[in-house]
Symmetry: C2
Subunit: 346 residues, 2 copies
DNA sequence: CTGTTAGCGCATTCAA
DNA sequence: TTGAATGCGCTAACAG
C-alpha cells in the first residue's frame, strides 16, 4: 500500500539509511548529488513517510495537541481554526480536545496526549498552576499555555501566549469613562482564573485612577454556576440584578469578561425594556465574529487571533535545543468601537 | 517509558499473544480466569496500548478524522465539539481539518488522512459527488458524509447523515404562511450544494402548495462570492437589495439558508430602519447557540446536533463486516419559535 | 487453550 | 560518505 524508504533507496541506488538521512535533514552526511537523486526518487515514487513507523521508532508523534475549553464557543472555534491553519503550513495535524473547563479532564487529556507520543501541545487553560506538567516538560514536552499569562513558579520552558488582559480592560474602561460614564459594572463568572483576575484588575485600576469610588461595580458569580457556554446566561442574570438597583446605584455602562457575556447583557437589557447602546452602554472582550453582527454591533476589545495562533505553532516548532528567548508573549489588544457604547445619559 | 504487552504477559504468567488477544477482544481463545489475570496485570502495571505500534502492524489508526468547512463557524464548532465528545466515550481522538469549503482542500485532507492510516472519517461536505472516494471506500474507508443526503450513484457503504432539509424549509415556510405572510423570500448563497438545493426545494414546494405565485422570491448568490464565514454579509447584501423593491414586490418575511445569514438579514433590516420580528419576519436554519441570544431571538429550524454526532460516531464504529442496514439517516428537524417572526403587517 | 515467531517502516548505531 | 543490522510494540498466522 505504501512506498517505503527501501524502495526509494533502491530506485536511487543508495541505502535506506541514506534516504533516512535525507528525510531528517542530515544533509552533511552525503553528497549534494546523492541527495538530489534521493529526492527525485521520492517524488517519482510518490513516497510518503509513515508516521506510525517513525513514531514507533522515535517515540514522538508529529501532530499538535490542542486543548480548548470548547470549540462550541465561537471564540475557541475561531482559535482552533487558526491553529489548524498554522499547523497545516508545516504539514502537521491537530488533535482536538475539549476540556469543558474541567481541570481533571484537562489534565487527563494532556496525560493521554503525552502517552500517545505527542510532544507539542497548545493548552488553553485557566488553571493558575502548571506544576502537574513540570515532569513532562522537563522530559521534552513543548507546551504553549494560551490565554494565560506567566506566573511565578511556572515550570521553565513553558511559553505563555496571551493578550495583555489588564491593558485590555483598562482600554475598555477608559473608553467608557471618555463617554462620560461614572457608574460602570464589570460582569464576569467567578474570578478564579488568571485572565479573569487580570481583566478585573485592569477595570479596578482604571476605575481607581478615575476616582470612580462606588461607581465601580464588580459583579462576579461566586462559584462556577455557569459553564463556558452559559456565558450569555450569566450576562443576562447579572444585568437583570443590576438593573433592579436604585437609580443612583445602577450602572450606566457595563464591561463584560467576554463577548458572549456581553451579548447576554444586551439581551437582558432588552428584556428589561432598555436599548443597549442608548440606555446602557455595553462593551465586550474578544471580538468574536458575532460581535459585529449583533444589534447593536458590539464595541469590544479585540484579541488578534491570527497572530496568537501563529505564535503558538511557531514556538511549538522552535528548535527544542535552542534557548527559549521569549518565555512569555503578551499581545496588545485593540479597542474596536461600534454602536453598543454611547455617551452616558443618566 | 511505556509498559509493553511483554511485561504484562510476564506479570500475568502468560504469553504476549494472549495479552494481545485480550486487548483485541478475542475472549473465546482463553479461559475467563486467564483473561481476568491479564486484565489485573494490565491495571497493576498501568499498561497503555501503543497506538503507533498497533498502527504500524495493522495499517489502521484509531483516531477519527473530522473534515468540516470551518470550526470558526459556530455551527461547525458546535458539531465538532459533539463529535469529539462522542469519540471520547470510545477512547478515540479526533483529527481536525478545516476545508474552508475548498473542494481541492477537502479532497487533499481525505487523501492525507487515508495515507496516515485513518479509516474513519466524518466528512462534512457539500460536494454533489463522492465518486473520488469510491476506491478508498472499497478498500476499507468508513466514511460518514454529514449534512448531505444520499445521492444516486453514491458509492455503496457511504453513510449519509443529514437532517431532512426539504421538510425543514417546508416547516419554516408553513410557519410564515400561518402568520399570514404572502410575500416570502428565500435567501441563500449559490444553490450548488445538495443541501442548499434541498432547502430551496422545500421552500418552493411549500410556496407552490400555498399558491404563492410571485410571492415566492428566491434570492441566491450566483457564484461563490461569499465564503463560509461571510454568510452574514450575504444576508445583509440580500436584504438590502430586497428592501429596495417596490412595496408590492417586497417580501414581508424572509427564510434564510442558515442562522448566520439570518443574523445578517436582521442586521441589514435594522440598517434599513426596520425592526426584525415586527416589520420583517426572519426565520433561520440550524439553531446555533447565538440564535437565542440575538435580538430579537431568532426563530429557526433546529438541527439536533447531539443525535447527529452520536449517530456519525456510532456508524464509524459499527462492525466493518456487518451489513450496512441504514445507508442514510434522515433526521427530523424541529421548528423553534422565537421572536424574530411575527404576523404579517403589510 | 496458549506459546512462538515473523515482520509492519523507520532511525540509528556501528562498520566499512 | 554509505551500508548492514537491529529493534521500537504489536498482531496474526501457525504450531503445539
Amino acid at each position: 500500500m505504501g512506498v517505503t524508504i527501501y524502495q526509494v533507496a533502491r530506485a536511487a541506488g543508495v541505502s535506506p539509511s541514506t534516504v533516512s538521512n535525507v528525510l531528517n535533514g542530515r544533509d552533511g552526511r552525503m553528497l549534494p548529488e546523492t541527495r538530489s537523486r534521493v529526492v527525485r526518487a521520492m517524488q517519482d515514487l510518490g513516497y510518503r513517510p509513515n508516521h506510525a513507523a517513525r513514531q514507533l521508532r522515535t517515540g514522538r508523534a508529529s501532530a499538535i495537541g490542542l486543548v480548548v475549553p470548547s470549540v462550541a464557543n465561537p471564540f475557541w472555534g475561531a482559535f482552533a481554526q487558526r491553529v489548524e491553519a498554522a499547523a497545516l503550513t508545516h504539514g502537521q495535524h491537530v488533535l482536538l480536545c475539549n476540556s469543558e473547563r474541567d481541570p481533571d479532564r484537562e489534565r487527563a487529556y494532556v496525560d493521554e496526549l503525552w502517552a500517545e507520543g505527542l510532544r507539542a501541545i497548545v493548552l488553553c487553560t485557566s488553571l493558575p498552576s502548571l506544576d502537574h506538567l513540570a515532569d513532562k516538560i522537563s522530559a521534552g514536552l513543548r507546551l504553549v499555555a494560551f490565554d494565560r499569562t506567566a506566573q511565578l513558579g511556572d515550570p521553565d520552558q513553558v511559553i505563555n501566549i496571551s493578550i495583555d488582559n489588564v491593558l485590555g480592560t483598562k482600554m475598555a474602561t477608559q473608553h467608557l469613562l471618555d463617554l462620560g460614564h461614572r457608574r460602570i459594572a464589570f460582569i464576569s463568572g467567578s474570578l478564579g482564573s488568571i485572565n479573569r483576575k487580570e481583566r478585573h484588575r485592569g477595570f479596578v485600576e482604571a476605575a481607581a485612577a478615575a476616582k470612580l469610588g462606588d461607581g465601580a461595580i464588580t459583579w462576579a458569580a461566586d462559584d462556577d454556576d455557569f459553564a463556558d457556554l452559559d456565558a450569555a446566561a450569566l450576562g443576562r442574570a447579572a444585568v437583570a440584578e443590576l438593573l433592579q438597583r436604585p437609580e443612583e446605584l445602577r450602572p450606566t455602562a457595563v464591561l463584560t469578561i467576554n463577548d458572549m457575556t456581553a451579548l447576554g447583557v444586551c439581551a437582558g437589557a432588552r428584556t428589561a425594556g432598555l436599548t443597549p447602546g442608548r440606555d446602557l452602554s455595553v462593551i465586550g472582550f474578544d471580538d468574536i465574529l458575532l460581535a459585529e453582527l449583533a444589534w447593536p454591533p458590539l464595541t469590544t476589545i479585540r484579541q488578534p487571533l491570527d497572530a496568537m495562533a501563529t505564535a503558538a505553532v511557531d514556538y511549538l516548532r522552535a528548535d527544542p535545543d535552542g534557548a527559549v528567548t521569549a518565555p512569555s508573549v503578551l499581545i496588545r489588544p485593540e479597542l474596536v468601537t461600534r454602536d453598543s457604547t454611547g455617551p452616558a445619559t443618566a
